[in-house]
Symmetry: D3
Subunit: 270 residues, 6 copies
């Protein structure tokens, strides 16, 4: 496995555990972070033995979002022509977006385990995950508004699919904090656990359950749900029919059926 | 009315009651079921005196989903060429999808009354209904993942419009059971009643209420909500303007207005 | 400021307060109302010093929806040719839709403060607002079904983005009343307050908070959320990258950053 | 093969030849025609040994379009309520559209061989075919405008993909005649032949050529071109990748490759 | 009729003739032009007796495009904040776009008669018309590239629907001149006439022909072709079915049918 | 510049010339080709001094398409499970598509200069270029059909935007050869030159012309045309308004304007 600086990347059985690893900086997302996210999730995507990924934060918090020094540095790199600066900014944003697109488009489910601060860019990140779970101490905020900017790495595009449009706008316009209980009520997280330890234990258990399912079926299911988000029901139905035209010829169906008959757990290949 | 084998189809006043009728097989969906669904809902759609449909299950359960013998039979019909098998599978899936498209595209509202097991293909079915109500004993599961396959008759396309994307993925990846109370919390069902009897009574009462409204207005409302699901707000607004260009010339408006003035219940034509 | 007949339009600091002003008619939406809405929200949009708008109802209710005399008048204007009537009706609907499109497309956030009746066309209106708050006495109903028609000024297109599809259809098919507590549970309103006084106070406080944020960032955020509703995640990501290409060159970022460093409240230009 | 009244349906080797067969009525499209088209193209679609279809007209002309007696009959079936009439008309149009959708969605290529009149509904029909060839005597006209109506069975939707938008509108607004030479220049037909005999001979030769290709590859190619017409390039690329995931496992590739190596003609299974 | 400064607006029978009227400035599009275009085409749209519009240029040329003094003036109105300038520019562009959207969305056909220079913004304008005809002396150029900018009032969006994508890009990247003969070959104009006099005579004759058709049918046809440009074939088919649900109840069908039977010219109401 | 094996990559002033460089294999596209295309066009995209790219073939031909040994090799890498094979094939296709997406999404115009064979995958490649020019000896063929497969790296998605849908299908179904003159008639190429020498000279001259324009304006123009291909006119208009909000603040406009006034050639920065 290649070297990482701002992440900790481990494989435990079929589960990849990716930790944001700048605890002394509240896991602020610095320049290496954005590149390493692409690298880490490409690795998750490409590595057959990895079936599920969990993302969490080292130390006391999940993440405080983008490192402000990165914004300062971007500002200092501007030239004298507004048009060319605009092109440069545009491409920078597209490059940052790639980090979380790598999560969204990863063929394997990605679960976020959130404790402590989950602020600004961290909301963009968890919005790109498949599912989110939190400990009671989690604190969330769409902080970009207080930086004088509209969030541009995914929150405004992906979060409305997770929570109601009305509460979405209140949070995005005010940047106010909200806690785990409110996050649960609005559907942002699926479950709240007592503390960081319980959270990780339960999330790992869930990851383990998913890793035991047919990888072919899990990957197809993720692709279909993601596709359905952006297309009509009819296009989605046509897509799954074309997709399953080959996937239903997989041996996993036979294995699953036999397991069902014999009441045993099936063992699927990667 | 034509003969049905796996369904019971009745008309009570303006209400069609369609019951899945294989109680000894937990209402598993066999070959005749899929064809009869198309037939039954074409009949609902075409029959002017039918204004609302209710779908429920005979016996102790709503339905255990697709009959596994049907999958086995499909598997045995495969030839030696993978490409031609793929074409055959694709067309089979499209054919099965037609059964629940017939519910979704039916011009009249369809209400699901769910008790006992509602598993696998049964989730695909209720996702295509307009509204869902359950009794306390209902148990739900997106079971396809445990058959080694991605659900392909509508759950992955339609369910995300009913429940949050986050809980959607948890249920689809794990295939875990959930009960009526959780279904209510996530918005899958609108109401939970104490038992099967209370459920049917309340659902029939609701169907009766809807049947008393202007059929022209109800059909237009369903078409608009369905269309809005798959199109932009702007396209939806343009569509209703074109639609109502003729429908507001219907006599139902005058009838409704007179009834409003005289505080009487209007009697609409079919 | 120009004259209004069916609205009261005031500016308080950076906040525009727009009141529906026909209390003796339960704020029913008459002919002047629809034109004045366009005018009022054009003014909100164009006036730099206005950063947020609040909409509420004078007297005991928010609004009873479209004035029935307007429908009667439209009916009396019909000619003898069904085709030409249809064209006229279509254009009338498109003209009415403009009133609430002006709210939806307004570049500044619009907050609805709802007390008493919020019926029929009033639901179309609040569906086009950014956020909704209610007092405990509020009563809601998608009343169009009882006029013998499908709602055609936005409810059926915008409301499904705010509440679950299942409860949406129940309310649209039955036209039944629901109260503030149910509206809160389904996500239609973000918060319920004890009475009209508390409601207005809290909504004004919220408007004040939003007015203190960078206007450039707020306007960008609203545009992005609205765009995301009608486009794919990918198109939305591309759009924000192009948008922020210029907006991140605004001085508001520097102001916000300095304020962040010095722990002071930033003062943004209009 | 089932009985046909307004069509002649024959199979010659791998080619289905479908002839509009009301020569004494200039092949006007009567009630049986519309149903039989659906039936004939379902048969083409389902019958493995049919690989290509040709559609032409018996007698001196291709077709004069919809039979006016059909319109008269539809008019006489109207009731007293404008709204319910509108619903009936809408469904009738959707039913007629099915006849030409059956051509467009047929998995096998459909070639139109056009001589003499090709008027009104006949333009809607040939617009739904894959390719069009004409003899020098062919005369075309988008005649619907002279019936006081906008064409509603496909011309206005499909023809702009075949010819330029500018000439499209001229033809649709004026209903003027144009000949085979002009049809060739605007891209409506691919080739013009001297007379009906030469036309049929060449079209049959072309059909024969296509029938010699891999049926799996031909069907995939048609599906992809049709899909591309209605979707973004990106969605199209994703679709072909999913489609070919199974189709490239077909034995036809090996057969084609061997034929290529040995310079022989491959013999593909149906 | 209201006063115009940069346009000449006349009605001749059912035909509106709109002339760009700054011949001493090669009909360059100044500030009043953009507002008056909206006004003129709103008038065309609203005035029942107008059935077709023709647009041409006074003097020796059609138009040299946007008046450069307008650009200079816009530049001088810029403030010190790049973000706020960007918002202002964006809204200005959207306002200019409205002038040609008024042509595109006008319910009646608009025919461009082009002689002499047709440069820059003039290409944006004719791209929004239904059809284009030219005299032999016409000279075209997508000149914006030589102003250091991408065309932003419609050429890049609408022209690819009229001419091939390949030649489109050559013209947009080089800004080179092309003449009427080349415009005809690429499908930009439908016909080329010898001189300005013959051009106007023929275009007026064409307008007269179209004005003689059913206005209900013409307006429906334009709406359907425009809609088809931006939607899938399937959405287009559904739209025309809903539209014609009322329009086929118009008396124009009966009039047209009677005229057809009696071989007389029908006289349609406006 | 990095090393290339199957390409020759040169920079001449502002022009990148990329030559397919396997003349002894008729420039068949082998494994290195596909990776190097991504690398070469990333370099074109990123290198400010490159403003236009030209792609041509070394030796006697442009390219014979994909190297058949690559297909054979892919076939030999298949495992025993059809489902997992399908996933592998799908990802391989997506990876190959990236090579030509890199051309399509490259911010700078790409011109294809075609001589000799342009077969199979070579059609996919030139379909992704901005413009195409050929010498008289060019021979084209959508050859994939004779490999027993539907083309899957872009021809079926992009070519219909360049040539008519009718001739498109004839070429895709038959795989027949066509020459430069026919390619010109159908709009596939913009111009035909006498021989390879004249072709390269003229294409280089064209590239030189484009390189002299404002790079900011050229890049914006390409982005807008590409976007328009896949989106509605309305979305395209909104996009250019947001884009030009910053680009019209570029100094290139002032430079262009001054050059226009002084009749000199402007010198734009990269």
């Amino acid at each position: 496995m290649t070297e990482y600086q701002s992440l900790l990347v481990e494989q435990q059985g079929h589960i990849a555990h990716i930790r944001i690893n700048r605890p002394q900086k509240i896991n602020a997302m610095d320049a290496p972070f954005w590149d390493e996210m692409v690298r880490a999730f490409d690795w998750v995507d490409q590595t057959d033995s990895v079936r599920v990924a969990v993302i969490s934060g080292e130390g006391k918090h999940f993440s405080a979002g983008i490192d402000l020094s990165l914004l300062a540095q971007a500002a200092s790199g501007m030239g004298s022509d507004i048009g060319r600066n605009a092109e440069r900014i545009r491409r920078n944003i597209l490059r940052l977006q790639k980090a979380f697109n790598a999560v969204d488009y990863c063929r394997k489910p990605v679960i976020a385990a959130i404790h402590g601060y989950c602020i600004g860019g961290a909301i963009d990140l968890i919005s790109a995950c498949d599912m989110r779970y939190a400990s009671r101490d989690a604190v969330f905020s769409i902080k970009e508004i207080d930086m004088g900017m509209a969030a541009d790495v995914g929150t405004l595009q992906r979060l409305p699919h997770l929570i109601g449009d009305g509460i979405m706008r209140e949070l995005a316009y005010t940047g106010r904090n909200f806690d785990a209980a409110e996050a649960l009520r609005m559907g942002l997280v699926n479950q709240v656990y007592d503390d960081h330890g319980a959270l990780l234990e339960e999330v790992m258990q869930l990851a383990h359950t998913i890793a035991g399912k047919s990888p072919v079926a899990i990957r197809g299911t993720k692709e279909m749900i993601r596709f359905a988000r952006d297309h009509s029901v009819e296009d989605g139905l046509n897509y799954i029919a074309s997709w399953n035209a080959s996937m239903l010829q997989s041996e996993d169906l036979k294995l699953a059926m036999q397991a069902h008959m014999t009441k045993k757990n099936p063992e699927f290949k990667d």
